[in-house]
Assembly symmetry: D2
Homo-oligomer: 459 residues x 4
């Protein structure tokens, strides 16, 4: 990076996670010569933007820094000449996630933010918006880096690369960050004594770990995890993997593999919450409300510890670290969504994977992982192709292809109920799915309505 | 083939399908210079062998042929100097299939002969036996062709190629035969006016069809099928595919795709039968009993029409056709399980696929199919890798790998119930699973028993 | 094909090979309901068109057929509503080939029609023309089949598929035809008793052969060929392959492999001809002159035997056979240039290979060949990539890429002489290389001229 | 690495390069807790071993270190419990290289140490010895790392991985080291401000370079090199690449690419030396003699600068750096021969490539490079497959396969002269080619002798 003063832009700046982002910048104040931070949001997010923006200003001031904090609803003004753009927005806000969770749940299927029917619809809503942002960036800041941590992060990065034809993008996820923060202490060491090798796709990857004598410690960590603390993000219900399976695999699954390796228990837990305390998004809505109440406190000028208890913790910090590594050519090891290029030879070379990479001025250079054994290979190939169908359907609005994605998805039992869920989700999210307009009109004409009362009232 | 008189051997000769095989030979008497037909079975099948063997002799005699029919329990005597060996045996007989169906069914999961948990266990029981047969063939008839139609036909052929290292094998299935027999009339033509292109793996393939002007008629057949007759084998419950999905795919799925594309309905139907008239094997047991009663009739010297109503119809005829095509270098189009070699570039070149091939003296030479679109590609890759895990676990008896196969299989909801089903099936089939002996002993020590009463009493 | 009366068009209709084409049609008169045959040529070929066209009319008349023979310089009129278009033109006529041969020869390198520098320049001249033809076809006969036997046939077919985006094309070559006509008698059998399996790219393929008992007879043919008759086209100098090499390969190389496996001897022979009786094109020019003298005879109404002695014999007949097989859905085995799609897994799936295929109404459906051993694999990968560079340079006119193709080509010793040959060829063919206009102007400005007197006078 | 005192072993310890190795250890004395250094050689190298060993002891003493230096002809004693084994031996000593250079040269072909016929024979001689060493290591020091810089380094590493089944090996080459030492100053920067990305195979790789702002500076370096200093090892004749070609490629070729991109000039230079001052090995023999005369000086206790002028400079230092990086888990960027695993997706995943990698306790973890453009892809695929043929022939002694390797090699013009060269080299090296014994005996019986007088007298 040329040693200029930086303009940093965050789309979805009104997010409750913004204090973590600001804290991340402040931690790296000696590495990043920041001039301006632009927090962008949409009309519907204006109130939150103002609350969290005011707090951001307090944090910067408390740190004794002269950074400009701009709050704006004008995305194009913000993007103009930006150096780094990060994205953490949620199309349709938490209400959309509630619908993603409750509509499948109302039919006994998994409702989850990034897996199953909910994950597919989150992609359907987000892809058109991210492609708009990329189009703006081509015009307004063609040399900027796009650091995406909007979920489903892998599919969004895929859309940016494949349909947006934008190469300077790095997709982030906090799941590997969590693993690398929590696992070392399970085997009584620290991260700097270990070599981590991750490979797979977002929310569906595995990793191996080696210590500084070259010994593989993957099984040591597996054994420690199975005994107790699972190094899970806060939003994932803990059920142990089957030890015989891990013993055979000799790979550490990611936290989300629980949905695939213990489908029964994860589904049951999700349906219990659906019928009881409410789905995760309903819970988060409360937590978020409390956070914003905190943020309103004009004396609060640091990130409150309650934020770290959210499932998305460390995402924003990872984004700051990616920017710092690129700017300073730090050649840091990070786990990112980027072009495969052979890193995982079992997947197409020209699509996005989530892998260990060196992050520096030249972007993300992955570490080769090599072929998987048949079980992991088969899973990965299914999941990546499901992603490709989802992203293409998100771009084209093809209903048959959406149905293909639903049919392939292991969290969705195919058949008439699955098709009903697809149809209800289309109707429920109609305001955010311009690509599916014709189909949605036809469904409405056919009288399809949303069964779940809570979801229906949020349309 | 050298123009010698032929010795044909069928392992599992006591099968109720043997009359179709004999009829198939008689139909081709001018093409196959048969000298001896050896029907081999095991002690437990001796009574059936004698009944169906006597009938085979009557059929041959009625056709005015001087072929020798040998009935034997001595497999090695039969294999000595054989020219063609066909396999149609069922390890553990229909009782094993009943257990494969009822144990998953007793926990609300699909119990089916070749899909889901049942299909995996059918492979677990059959692989050790087929590898024994191959070992005998290497010694006793090293130049013979092995025509396998023992199910799960694709996995068994995989085991023969990969672990048996036996190249002269052709795996057969009646699903494509059914399609090619019934579809042409749906579009008012005949098979000889069409070009069929099948690709995939056994019980999981798709096809395209072209007429003799070069026009693709795949969608015409799809439309006709969706209107009515689905060209299904008798053992598959009919539920239509979603038209929007097929419209997108522009490929004809195979009959068994119903289990994957309409999982909900197929499962419900199977559970209804489980709770009601009994699973398919229970029904078949009755049908088979009736068939053998018919076969006992010393006046019956032709294949009774009741046999054609079985799900396995046309398998034996396909075997005869394969032998005739090889012997006479006929270069016939057949759909067979054989080495991939690039035919389906989405799958490993060195494993078995089920594809359109030319069958002649040089064996099966597949017609290149080319890459699939992402949805079909992802499915195929999952399923083929699930097969590879299953076959390897069948050879090694590795429990962790068996669990991997269960976890991957889309017909099995992963979790503690799935693991319970795996454990019960191990115990239920303990007499036929020497490779899993240690694990089974441990399960018995742990007190695992089979819950379903009917299944338990059949152990 | 719809059973309509056919309009057949041949671009380059004035070729001396046209009588073979007409003979081919006449032989198949019961299979092809021909109404019109259009022979198209350019102004420079008008005289030859008239001579050979008149003879074609005599041949058709002598056969008692009422087919219309149209001779025209108006390609678009000819293409209108055509059913089959065949291409046998030579951009720049034989003089261009003389330059292709003499310019490399004048620097001690191989000058050959389809190999080395000459083959690359034949592609450079032909690709722009064939893409024009395809553009016309899209407009005027979008349902026609294009049967290409213009050399270098594989690269021209590649250009048609990859840059012309035209799928209904079949590329032909007479080298496999020659092999299949001459080899069977070497082992005392006939073609109908054999199964041929060819794979590779045009003028660079190998084959295996099996008899009707399934025994591989590849080595038998190799041994017979090495003893004597090499089943070569007339234009290829015969030098034996090294027996130890073939013994290891256990594959039959194609006739052109001599250039690669016996580079020294083939080069020496070519340089002897260059210095002595003249290069092959110079010889052919005389033969062709004699042929046209014969054709002028108003009594000649059949293909004279002298034509069969040309190197290009059987090309035209193969074209007729391809048309007949498509029209009648004959499902004939032919060796054609077509999309790889996995047939040769060592090469990219989306490019053209030359392989055994079934030719019928649905076009060419290749027979899977499978992976090669390392030596053949390496050669093939080099040569196919050399083709890809050549075709792309032929489309874009990029000089650096042309230099890459020259550098890779095993018949060209890289360095300043090779670059000089490239530059001289550009100048020599300047009238037929619009894509390289700027570079040629610059070379002329730099004073580059053609050294060889004969070649220079032909510019 | 466990923090124990290290035992380092060098096979070929009597090499003139040993002082560089010792200097490399001394430079890293704070990073490597060395206890013992074992220099192993064979009887024929004993004198040199004693000279250079004495000097090594002086160097260590001068550095004030207490390391033990052991000189031995007993390889097994040396290997016992070794931590790192490095190999720098030359089977047949420089005389063998003279034969490798002069025999092809005597027929007008390239004689070079690692390219063409000479490179193939260097592999033929070395592979059996390295596989013996690996067999010893499996028994005597199964946890040691093998650092190979015996040439042809890529093929030797391939043999170690594929036939030796030894995974803890790193193959080194000084060509990338040279590039990284000399190129940065050409663009007025230093290595630590650049990111290098190398990919290919040993002596046949390309690289791209990026600066610390992320800008690609590959073309800047190309332009600087073409102007003057080519950053070449001392043993490579300098002829510039064609600028138009590099402009198209936008990749930096390696120094050895001259042999392939400027074949004519490199051959001419080599033949001039052959006819004049003698081949490179003849020159090196003199240089080496002078070096050993220097080494005899009992006052010399540092690496003389004359050694740095050899073509193999930096090899030994790279070996020390690899050991240090592994031992200290330094995660250094180095360019090494290691398993491909997808790094270069154009080559098989299960074979060796030479690529940028991170070197640490877990070994070499390559940085993914991605697919090449067609020209580089085709070259690489040819060369890697030529390597695979060579290594297999080196293991099996198959003459037909040796002929295949010769035929494929772009530095060898195929034909009867090439075969003659192959035969003479077999005879010339008969004492070091046990795998070819039968063929050599037959050649001798057939009266084949070595034509070149100098080469013949060295047998």
């Amino acid at each position: 990076m040329s040693h200029k003063q930086l303009k940093l832009v965050t789309i979805g700046g009104g997010s409750s996670y913004t204090p973590e982002l600001i804290e991340g910048y402040i931690k790296r104040k000696d590495e990043l010569p920041i001039k301006e931070i632009w927090l962008v949001d949409i009309k519907a997010g204006q109130e939150k933007l103002e609350i969290v923006g005011a707090m951001a200003k307090r944090m910067v001031k408390a740190a004794g820094l002269d950074w400009e904090i701009h709050l704006t609803l004008d995305r194009r003004e913000a993007l103009k000449d930006a150096d780094f753009v990060s994205t953490q927005f949620r199309v349709g806000l938490l209400n959309a996630r509630i619908k993603d969770e409750r509509i499948p749940g109302s039919y006994g299927m998994l409702g989850q933010e990034t897996n199953g029917a909910g994950g597919i619809f989150k992609a359907f809503r987000t892809v058109p918006v991210i492609l708009d942002i990329v189009a703006d960036m081509k015009e307004l800041c063609p040399n900027a880096w796009l650091i995406n941590f909007t979920n489903p992060s892998g599919m969004i990065t895929e859309a940016i690369k494949t349909y947006g034809k934008w190469d300077k993008v790095i997709g982030l996820c906090n799941v590997p960050v969590n693993a690398m923060m929590k696992e070392p202490e399970l085997i009584n060491t620290t991260l700097d004594h270990l070599t981590y090798r991750f490979a797979g796709i977002d929310h569906f990857h595995w990793h191996r770990v080696f210590d500084d004598t070259g010994r593989e410690v993957t099984m040591d960590i597996i054994n420690a995890i199975q005994k107790g603390d699972a190094a899970l993000p806060k939003n994932i219900f803990n059920v142990n993997f089957f030890p015989e399976q891990l013993e055979y695999m000799r790979l550490l699954p990611c936290a989300y593999h629980r949905y695939y390796y213990r489908e029964e228990e994860m589904l049951n837990h999700s349906l219990e919450e659906f019928a009881g305390i409410g789905t995760r998004a309903q819970q988060v809505k409360k937590i978020e409300h409390e956070l914003f109440e905190l943020y309103k406190d004009p004396k609060l000028d640091y990130k409150p510890k309650q934020l770290s208890e959210r499932g998305g913790a460390y995402y924003s910090d990872a984004a700051c670290e990616a920017m710092t590594s690129i700017y300073n050519d730090k050649k840091t090891h990070m786990v990112v969504s980027t072009l495969n290029n052979g890193t995982v030879p079992d997947l197409p070379a020209d699509h996005v994977v989530e892998v260990s990479a060196q992050i520096g001025a030249a972007g993300a250079i992955p570490f080769t992982f090599g072929p998987f054994q048949p079980a992991e290979r088969g899973w990965l190939q299914l999941m990546k192709n499901m992603e490709l169908c989802t992203v293409e359907a998100a771009v084209t609005g093809n209903y048959g292809l959406a149905l293909q994605a639903f049919t392939m998805n292991p969290m969705i039992k195919s058949g008439s109920t699955a098709k009903r869920i697809l149809d209800e989700l289309l109707i429920a999210h109609k305001n955010f799915l311009p690509q599916f307009t014709d189909k949605i009109k036809q469904l409405e004409k056919d009288g399809v309505t949303v069964k779940d009362d809570i979801a229906r009232t949020l349309i």
